[in-house]
């Protein structure tokens, strides 16, 4: 039973990583920007969800408001910060992004206070029994939410004009333009969608923990960088696999390696080892 619980716990965490990292990988795939501040948007999404829900009494409204506002913020970050840096070496945007992320975390601490906020309503405390195993309702909500979001993304990428335009722009921007694709618009829509995912992940984690804190983005921010590298940078499928795998490995690592190593360091051990063996990432296509 221990293994089932560990795997389940890992998948719950991994699905949270996946929803955050998928936005990062969309942005990296298109613009080669390591968008650390993504996790700042995730925290913002969590706060908006809690505050709106408490004000209106509707969780659905809270989640919707978070997605909309954070999506717009993502476009704003692109317009004000990254767009003027696209011609510069890639680490410039990375460092600027880290600076922005620190600013965001500090602003949340100043505006919302250091101790965090919770929903007024009670936490999803009950457990759901599935035959011999039982799972906490909040965990189940996280898993189901992630599956819904990621399926939605898959549909978006496969079935819609945006998906076609996105893939065309990633493969060959000049060619995409010659086919009449507005590549500038694709970038904005890309930031909007990625940020909507960040907000959704924030909402889910807010529900999962019934707690939002200014620093809740710290762990996902840097860890999801590791995940998108392991996933082969810009590869949506690889990112998913890497996120879930990392979630499970961490769950086991906490039990079996917890005496020697902090849980949050495991991702980076993997990151370093994988980069040394395969500088292009674990699930990258061969060049």
């Amino acid at each position: 039973m221990l293994h089932v619980e560990l795997v389940l716990q890992g998948l719950v965490n991994g699905s949270m990583y996946a929803v955050v990292a998928i936005g990062l990988t969309l942005i990296y795939g298109l613009l080669r920007i390591l968008h650390v501040a993504h996790a700042g948007l995730y925290t913002l999404g969590a706060y908006i969800t809690v505050l709106t829900t408490n004000a209106t009494g509707s969780l659905a409204l809270g989640i919707l408001a978070a997605m909309l506002v954070v999506g717009l913020c993502g476009m704003l970050v692109y317009r004000l910060l990254y767009e003027p840096m696209l011609e510069r070496p890639p680490y410039v945007a990375l460092i600027a992004s880290i600076g922005l992320f620190i600013c965001m975390e500090e602003s949340y601490r100043i505006v919302f206070g250091p101790y965090g906020s919770s929903f007024d309503m009670p936490r999803l405390g009950e457990r759901i029994a599935l035959g011999p195993i039982s799972i906490a309702a909040a965990d189940a909500a996280m898993l189901v939410g992630a599956i819904v979001l990621l399926t939605g993304l898959a549909m978006l990428m496969r079935r819609t004009r945006f998906g076609v335009a996105w893939r065309a722009t990633v493969t060959d921007p000049a060619m995409a333009r010659s086919f009449g694709i507005d590549t500038i618009k694709v970038r904005y829509v890309n930031f909007f969608i990625a940020s909507v995912f960040a907000a959704a992940a924030g909402s889910l984690v807010a529900v999962l923990n019934n707690l939002v804190e200014p620093t809740m983005g710290s762990v996902p921010s840097y860890k999801s960088l590791a995940i998108i590298v392991l996933g082969g940078l810009g590869q949506v499928g690889g990112t998913l696999a890497a996120a879930l795998l990392l979630g499970v490995i961490e769950a086991y690592g906490t039990i079996y390696a917890g005496a020697y190593l902090d849980r949050d360091a495991i991702a980076f051990i993997f990151l370093i080892v994988v980069l040394m063996i395969r500088p292009q990432g674990l699930f990258a296509r061969g060049s």
Partner: protein, 284 residues
């Protein structure tokens, strides 16, 4: 000078040493490192163990530097494999692994850290003089490297590795040299820190410390010696002079990083250079 001023001088000195070391790696040689605090921490832990074991201060300083440089050499090897933004996240990873590892090590005091560190025995003034002497020595080393052919080669490596190779420059060796020298300085700074606080915990060497050091280098002007020193001094002192700034210290660092990267990529040094050029032009 009162005790408070002495404390300030020591803290400023340690930060200048750290910034000078990172400036060698990231400024001179162009290798972005987001994990400088790990080398600072390695030096500090090595120094704490040595000092507690009764070794004299000069040996402890050198041991701190050498231990950090050994880790620096290892991390330097990763820079031969990955570049630019990949190197940045690899070094960031090294920082997280360092803290994650130390936190769980009983022999390093785990979360509680190490406390049984003996007094340096120099007296307050003696200690401050040692700090200033070390800063001067490190600034002199940096200045020499910048003027030497090694610095010239670093500049070529930072600019275009492949072309530097066609001119006979052994790029991997140059990168390793930058990492070894820069992390040695960080290790010495770690040893000084140990004698200064006489108490170290893993949290003192986390990611925010790496970013603080990086912001000094960036705000000063990547590669500029005096710019980095000025920025390290200012960014350390500003939070001390005002309670308000101290409360929002990280916000200040973050905002300065964003603004510098966005509007003044060459930092203070770049701003001064372009101002003086404009002045000279308006004079003629």
């Amino acid at each position: 000078m009162g005790a408070y001023e002495l404390t300030l001088v020591a803290v400023v000195s340690i930060n200048v040493m750290l910034a000078l070391g990172l400036n060698l790696i990231t400024g001179f040689c162009g290798q972005v490192s987001l994990g400088h605090a790990a080398f600072f921490g390695t030096g500090a832990y090595a120094a704490a163990l040595m000092a507690a074991a009764g070794w004299p201060l000069p040996v402890v300083l050198v041991a701190g530097g050498v231990t950090a440089a050994v880790l620096g050499l290892l991390v330097g090897f990763t820079s031969l494999r990955v570049r630019e933004d990949f190197l940045a996240i690899t070094t960031m990873g090294v920082g997280f692994v360092f803290v994650g590892f130390v936190r769980k090590q009983g022999w390093l005091g785990a979360e509680m850290g190490l406390t049984n560190i003996p007094d340096h025995g120099l007296g307050d003034i003696g200690f401050i003089l040692m700090c200033l002497g070390l800063v001067a020595a490190m600034a002199a080393i940096s200045a020499h490297i910048k003027r030497s052919w090694l610095g010239f080669g670093f500049a070529a490596v930072a600019d275009d590795e492949a072309t530097a190779r066609t001119l006979g420059i052994n790029v991997p060796l140059y990168k390793l040299a930058a990492f070894v020298i820069g992390t040695f300085l960080a290790g010495v700074a770690g040893a000084v820190y140990v004698y200064f606080t006489r108490f170290i915990i893993p949290g003192a060497f986390g990611f925010t410390v790496s970013i603080s050091i990086l912001s000094m280098v960036i705000v000063g002007g990547v590669g500029s010696l005096w710019g980095v020193i000025v920025a390290a001094v200012l960014l350390t002192l500003l939070p001390e002079f005002s309670r308000v700034i101290n409360d929002y210290k990280l916000l200040l660092y973050g905002a300065l990083i964003v603004l510098t990267m966005r509007f003044a990529p060459d930092g203070l040094a770049g701003i001064v250079t372009s101002l003086s050029r404009r002045l000279r032009r308006s004079e003629t």
